[in-house]
């Protein structure tokens, strides 16, 4: 299990993490399995874990004033998921996180992560690089959300995260893009018939 995380860290940092350093990482992360539809975080409670997905698919969403789900994040194996704000500041989260497929996870608490950042320079470096990647990806998502038409949003998702289309149902993708399932369906038809 842990070797998947190990390979991931090596890849992100373009380095090979030494065994004696990886020991700290193993110690900081706990294995956790969740079944489909099981929750990792409930709205109103503090997000206690930063999670690395070994296998499976998860989603993060909030419930708006009209009671409908707004998906804010989708994640597959090799991705991180968690509410950064709640996790770092120990404040109640506005989000729910649950499993879309059965998942194998590696989870770590804030204390464990903070300790780890002091113990492993490689992990600190990885965290920093991830923040950069995150900032860039998120920048594009902002522009898509504000400026793009429905068709452009669909195309942006196909380009940015093609894997999502095989793993998440249409209605979740629609919610993630801020579209209704009906519009999503029509866009899909329009694009594939060309």
């Amino acid at each position: 299990m842990y070797d998947i995380l190990r390979k991931y860290i090596d890849r992100v940092t373009s380095a090979t993490i030494p065994d004696e350093e990886f020991v700290y990482i193993e110690r900081a992360f706990n294995l956790k399995k969740v079944k489909k539809k099981q929750f990792l975080l409930h709205e109103g409670s503090v997000c206690l874990y930063m999670t690395f997905i070994i296998s499976g698919a998860m989603r993060q969403y909030s419930i708006d004033n009209n009671g409908i789900e707004r998906i804010t994040a989708l994640a597959l194996e090799g991705w991180w998921i968690g509410d950064r704000d709640s996790f770092n500041n120990l404040t109640p989260s506005r989000y729910n996180i649950d499993a879309v497929e059965d998942c194998t996870l590696l989870v770590s608490t804030l204390d464990q992560i903070n300790l780890l950042k002091e113990q492993s320079l490689t992990f600190l470096k990885m965290a920093h690089i991830l923040d950069q990647h995150h900032a860039i990806a998120v920048q594009k998502r902002i522009e898509a959300g504000i400026n793009y038409t429905a068709v452009e949003k669909y195309q942006y998702l196909m380009e940015a995260n093609p894997a999502f289309f095989n793993r998440f149902p249409q209605n979740m993708l629609a919610s993630y893009l801020g579209l209704t399932p009906e519009t999503m369906s029509r866009v899909r038809k329009q694009i594939h018939s060309r």
Copy 2:
């Protein structure tokens, strides 16, 4: 000039940076003045500077396929501005950055920043905290862009960045929110008449 940056770092890190460490920071940043409408970055060229604004107001924007400006970022004194993607990866930027008011800036190159992160642990810590803040702020902007109505977007901006309203013209705020100036004007009227 530099003491403004110093106070900023102290505040963000909740610490007092020692003199001997701050010397490195002074060395890494250069003072730069730009007049209103002057450019700091042109679309197509690499973003060479990460910029801390001592005084003044700046904007970042791109030009869409129809030739209209899409403002992606607005920034005032005490804020950072720059295209992270282009800056870190030395790739051509899709954005323009120019001054909305006369500005006094502290700028630093990628090499200088990287060196500085090794020299000053406080600066590294600050960069890390800023990334956290950025991630949280940006999360809200994504949700606003995707889910909010025009009125809600206006309210979100009033809450998140009230200072913008005294410093940037309405049409820039409209572009930043993904609205037309006309809609912005109507929303404004509607909200203030209540």
